[in-house]
Structures are given as structure tokens and as C-alpha cells.
Amino acid sequence: MKAPLAGIRVVDLTMVWAGPFGTRLLGDYGAEVIKVEGPGQWDLLRGLGGIPRTVDRWYNRAAYFNHNNRNKYSAAIDLRQEAGRDLLLQLLAKSDVLVENYRANVMDNLGLSFEEVRAVNPRIVYVSMPGHGKTGPEAHYVTYGTNVEQLAGLVSVSGYEGGEPLKTGFSYGDPTAGLAVPAAVALGLRQRNRTGEGVHIDLAQRENLTGFVGEYLVDYSMNRELRAPAGNTHPHFAPHGVYPSGGEDRWITIACENDEQFGGLCRAMQQEELADDDRFATMATRKANERELDAIIEEWTSTWGHYEAMHILQRHGVPAGAVLTIPEVMSDPQLRARGAWSEQVHPDAGTWEVETPPWNLTRTPGHARIPAPGFAEHNSYVFRDLLGLDEETIARLYADGVTADEPNVQSHT
């Protein structure tokens, strides 16, 4: 069955994480994605692989780059040269979607604004995803993923109970912006199909993520009271937390949302009398005596492995889950049973496991079809097959440095 985005061509100018993750999802679900990098302006993730620069084509071997750029083709075009800009506009004339995540004014300065692209392709769905959006007094500020969650208000409500604001353990603002890209593109394509006209989508990463803490904003606006970080606790439920299990730095989460689940926890710990104990008999008293209860639970959890405790508790109907490390995530039986990983062979980088497309669209499934492209690997496909350029023109593009088969390795140090 045809994938949802089959027949849709995407020109991808994004770099680093948020954008490439978003366009990878487009490729996962059937779009033809052409990643365009400049010979001197290549995706800096190519250089963050820890691969010594003495190794041949080190820039094609970085795990982080290859992870975020599978299901894409690669062409090298220097957009700062007039001939490069013309080439990109020729490609855009034959495409459906453009995605870019430059700072707000970069595309305009390159002469590639929405209006300029629309002049060559009135049906283009043009997606900009800068940190702050395309407009406003902070539009030109530089931001990365950790900045985004700070701007969104998330960090101010994260952290240990009674503690300082705390960042998420990874650049959370990046993937949360990337996840919005397929929906934004689908809405744009739907509108184009209906009206026959292109659309400019302005996805400000900080605004998208502010949507993930909207209840705090509504609350503050109604009550004018700032909420302190609450750690792993919940405003009503107890027990609700993380408990040590056997092993070094291994943990299990337990969260009981009603009396029945708490009864299950007591049976699992073989301490059924706790369910009738005045301190713990109702949700309200459990919440009031949460620390005492946590101490009892800790004593039990530390005698089990985190997976073991999870399975025992789940058999008693208790919401519980192991705090998985990255190696454990990759071997987790549920993710394995779901087919969450598949092997990918890359001509330069070798064979390793990548995750499969995350959403199971049962009638029109996604696929990890091709590995991440080497730098400029598909120049010929783009220049000859798609744009129909003659050999003389192509030779001139190479001679003038508008394109190249290898990146200028001096440009990122």
C-alpha cells in the first residue's frame, strides 16, 4: 500500500537535530527528501561523531548524523552563490515542500524568502522552524534545544521537590519541534490540495513546546501563583515516585491512582495489613503520610531487580515501570516485540541498529528504506535526472565551487 507521503518531494535545508529529525519522519512515511548542504555549510552533526579526521570520509560515518538523516538523498549546493540559489529554485519548482530551520532572517538574506520561492512554485508548502519564529523582537536570537525548553517555561517547573529549576537530561526542545513537522506538512498539503495555493508555516520551537506546559500558564494567569518543582510527586496520588532497586543506580517507578492499585501493591509486598492501616487507608491519608509510605516501599524494592519488581507489581495490577538505561531500552522485550529496531547497512559507516518509524500506521506503514546519504551522494540524481542539466553546466557548477563531491573540511573546526 502506498505510504501517506508517497509522491511528495521535500527539499530539506535543515541541520543539527530538530529539523533533520522532522524531515526524517517525512522520509519514514514515504516522502522523497533531498537534503541540501553547502560545500562549506554542511550539517555540523557530520563532525560530531568522534571519528578521527584521518579516517577516509569521516564525515559520512558519524552515528548521530546517520541516525537523523536516513531515508534522505544528499545534494551539495552553495546557496550563497547566485548560481547556487538559481539551482535551488529550479529544484523547488519541482518540489512540494521546503523545510528550513535557520535563524529568522537567513533565508530572506539568501533571496529565498517565501515570496521568492512562491514566485517559482505557487504551490509550495514552505515550513520555517526557527527557535523564536520568523517575527518579533527576539526573532534573531540564537537558540538550541536546551535553550528552547528554558524559553518555553518547562525548566521553571522541573526539578526535585523543593529544589532549583532543572533541565531535561537531553536537548528536549529539538525532538519536540521535529515531531510537529509531519502534522504541519500534512496540514499544509491538505490546504494546498484544497485551494491550489502554497502556504508559509512558521513553527517557533519555543511556542510549540510552551504547548506542553499550557496548564501551568492557564493556572498562573487565573491564580497568580508560581508552582515550585515537584520532583516525582503528584498533587493527589501517593505513592507516586521512584524507588531504588537492586544494583547500582537502578530504579523503579510506582504510581498508584486508586485504592485498588494500592491494595495490589500491599499484596505484592506481602504486607496486606498496610491497606487497612489508618495512615494509608485512603488516598488523602496516603498523600499526607507519603514519606513514611515511601520508606516502606523502598525497603521492598531494594530487594528486587527493577524489571523483576515491575513484573511482580504489574501482575497485581499496580502501575510500575523500570527506569531504563539506554542499553536496556535497546534490549527491552516490548520494544523488540514491537519491531522498534532494525539493522541498517551504510556503505561507509557499517552495519548497526536504528529505530524503525515510531508510529504503526497499519494500512500504510513507514519504512527505514535507505541509510543516511554520504555527502553529495545524490548530486547526479538531482542535477541530471531531476533537473536535466547538461554535462557542460554541471562541470561549471563544480569548477565554480557551487557544488562539490566532498565537503570543505575547514569550515567547521
Partner: protein, 394 residues
């Protein structure tokens, strides 16, 4: 210009956060979203925080936020009559969003084959912790547990303390946004092919791949750091206390010169310990002490303005008060004032992305069961039937 999703009809049989957030995005972009609530309403109505701290099912901030621009039908899917009425609604729907455990969903009549029999174009979106099949499919979960099983929790927190979840319901929101993207791809395919499908969202599968470089470095290079790093990721990435809050720094190699200028330390650029990204990593402790000392003497908005002026990635930790006062959000009109008949007026986040001036709408969350009568009558139920399935109409 019509709204982007105008003409799409969505039934949301969702509780708490993930399915309602997906439904909120559908409603904002113009779909008609009918929220099917169990008798007594979605549990988010009982969650709070409430206006003035007084519990009321119509003033819970969590519910108010997640359910803007929807209609509410109170319907007992635990009864056969309720499930029959739901099937009548499903015959006319484009999308159903639900977030029950697979066996619980089937008990409520949310069985894909049965729904497909009455409406082959229907897209059924199921958001669960683990997906529809597999050894944990029937395991109980919630936001805390999903954060743990998706690998994000282990990474978050201080090295000498237990892992900690981030604020609010982040795993649930991720589930909701993943579901919205997936649902809209399925909707495109349904409009193209005339055929719907079951969309199976596993929050664990959505979360596991986005651990930054964690999975690729482990999978490909066999490298795994195995340690939480709190706010002090490194000298060039972290959150540092300042005079009136905290500032955040995320400096990539190319931002190093503007960062040194913005912090008023051009001499760092002459210091050979800090000459390259590699040498800065070697002298991370020294540089971090310098950055901490710089931050400690700054006011947050002043540091942010310097970041903007010098194009250095410096931000400050925005509280909810800062968001309401943000000149950037103000200039873009991101925050919306919405009047609710019981909770009154409040500010709400606007669209996650802009598609022109009239692509998003801001209606209040519905009162419980406000549309039961009208919606069920539209579906062809008689007054007597409506009284049977819904109790006394609102």
C-alpha cells in the same frame, strides 16, 4: 480562507492528557471535535489546579487548557445503549482518538474491526503506553512510568540523586503530539484512498529514539556514559544561577567567539586553554567555574539581551510570569485571552505553528455534557433514546 482542518469530524474518547492534547490541536486548527466524556466527566476535571484553589469540575486548569474549542457529550460507554449511540456517531466521523489500555478500549466498544464495519474511511488513533500488542501491552502505565520506560528519566537529574521526571506531563504530551502527526498522515492517506486505518501509537516507541545521541552512540560506537549530569552538562551547556533566577547556555563551537564577547570576557579568546573545542573540553572545569562566576553577577533579562545583541546562545529560565510578560510572545500574539463561562478569563497558549492569520481558533473548554442533546439528536437519536444513554440532558 477556511481553517486547515475545517470539515473534519473527530470523536475524542480520551482521558487526562495525551488524547485530549491531540484533540485540542485538531480543534484549534478547525476540526469539529466531540469529546465523549464518561458520566461525571474526564478525570482532568478533578485534577486542578482550580481557580482560587476551589475544586470545581469546570475550573480545573488542566482540563480548561486541554479541551479548548471542543464540544462535550456525556455518554456511558459502559452500557450497551451508550455503545450503540457511539457507533451512530462513529459512522459520521473522520477520526477517533482514544487512550485506553487495549482490553479496556475493546470493552468500551473501541474495536477497530467493528468501527470499520460502520465506517471504512475512519482513522482510529490509539495512544497507549506500549502499543496494541506485545508482552507489556496490558501493563498499567501513566506519565511517570512512561517517562521511565522510554529511557528519558534515567538521563534527567543530578548525578548523586535519583532520576527525576521533568515538569508536568511530558510523556503524555509527547504521546499527544506524536498522535496528531500520525493521525494527519493517516487522514491524508484516507482522503487519497477512500480508506481509513488503525493508527497504533506506543509512547515508549515514540520516546526511546529521541534520547539525543544516546541511542546512536551506543548502537553504533558501543559508547554509553551512564551518568546523569543535572544542570551542569558542561562549561558550554547548562543552567547556572544568576542574581534573580537562572540563565541557560548552549554554546556550539561556532558560537564560542560571540559567547566570550557577550559575557565580557574577550580574553578567553586569547587563552590557549580555550583555543579549540577540544581544548575547552580538556579544561572544562576551569571554564565552567568562569561561566558560573559570570552568571552569578548577572540579571537574567540583562544576560538574555546580551545574548541577543552578540548572537550568543544565552537565555534565561522563563517562569510563567515571564511568559505572560514576554515581549516576543506579545509581539507575535501567541498568548490568547479566552473567556470561560464558569472559570472566567485567562491566558492560554496559541497555535504550535502559524499558517496565516485565521488558521487557529480559540474557543473555551466545554461544560460537562453541554452538547449531549444536540449532538445525539444530530446523530438521529430520539429524545427517549437520548434520555436512556445520557441520563438527564444538560
Amino acid at each position: 480562507m477556511p481553517l486547515p482542518l475545517e470539515g473534519i469530524r473527530v470523536l475524542e474518547v480520551g482521558t487526562f492528557v495525551s488524547a485530549p492534547y491531540c484533540g485540542r490541536l485538531f480543534a484549534g486548527y478547525g476540526a469539529e471535535v466531540i469529546k465523549v466524556e464518561p458520566p461525571g466527566g474526564d478525570i482532568a476535571r478533578a485534577h486542578g489546579p482550580f481557580k482560587d484553589g476551589v475544586p470545581d469540575p469546570e475550573t480545573s486548569a488542566l482540563f480548561l487548557y486541554l479541551n479548548t474549542s471542543k464540544r462535550s457529550v456525556e455518554l456511558d460507554l459502559g452500557s450497551q445503549a451508550g455503545r450503540d449511540a457511539f457507533l451512530r456517531l462513529a459512522a459520521d466521523a473522520d477520526v477517533i482518538i482514544e487512550n485506553y489500555r487495549p482490553s479496556d478500549a475493546r470493552a468500551l466498544g473501541l474495536d477497530y474491526e467493528r468501527l470499520r464495519a460502520v465506517n471504512p474511511r475512519l482513522v482510529l488513533v490509539s495512544i497507549t503506553a506500549y502499543g496494541q500488542e506485545g508482552p507489556y501491552a496490558e501493563y498499567h502505565s501513566n506519565n511517570l512510568i512512561a517517562f521511565a520506560m522510554g529511557g528519558q528519566m534515567f538521563l534527567t537529574g543530578d548525578p548523586d540523586k535519583p532520576p527525576v521526571k521533568n515538569g508536568g506531563y511530558q510523556a503524555d504530551y509527547q504521546g499527544g503530539l506524536n498522535a496528531f502527526s500520525a493521525a494527519n498522515l493517516a487522514l491524508l492517506a484516507a482522503e487519497r484512498d477512500g480508506e481509513g486505518q488503525h493508527v497504533d501509537i506506543s509512547v515508549q516507541h515514540c520516546m526511546a529514539p529521541i534520547l539525543e545521541a544516546g541511542v546512536p552512540f551506543y548502537s553504533y560506537n558501543g559508547l554509553w556514559l551512564g551518568q546523569r549530569r543535572g544542570n551542569l552538562m558542561s562549561s558550554f551547556m547548562g543552567v547556572y544561577p544568576c542574581l534573580d533566577g537562572q540563565v541557560g547556555v548552549h554554546v556550539m563551537a561556532r558560537n564560542w567567539p560571540p559567547f566570550a564577547e557577550a559575557t565580557g570576557h574577550p580574553e578567553w579568546l586569547e587563552d590557549e586553554r580555550f583555543a579549540t573545542a577540544e581544548s575547552r573540553r580538556e579544561h572544562d572545569d576551569v571554564l565552567m567555574a568562569e561561566v558560573i562566576a559570570w552568571a552569578a553577577g548577572m540579571r537574567k533579562k540583562e544576560a538574555y539581551a546580551l545574548g541577543g545583541e552578540f548572537r550568543a546562545p544565552i537565555t534565561f529560565i522563563h517562569t510563567m510570569e515571564d511568559l505572560l510578560e514576554s515581549p516576543q510572545l506579545e509581539a507575535r500574539g501567541f498568548l490568547r485571552r479566552i473567556e470561560h463561562p464558569v472559570a472566567g478569563e485567562a491566558s492560554y497558549p496559541g497555535p504550535p505553528w502559524w499558517m496565516g492569520p485565521d488558521a487557529w481558533r480559540d474557543g473555551p473548554a466545554p461544560l460537562l455534557g453541554a452538547d449531549t442533546q444536540v449532538v445525539l439528536a444530530e446523530a438521529g437519536l430520539s429524545d427517549a433514546e437520548i434520555a436512556t444513554v445520557a441520563g438527564a440532558p444538560a
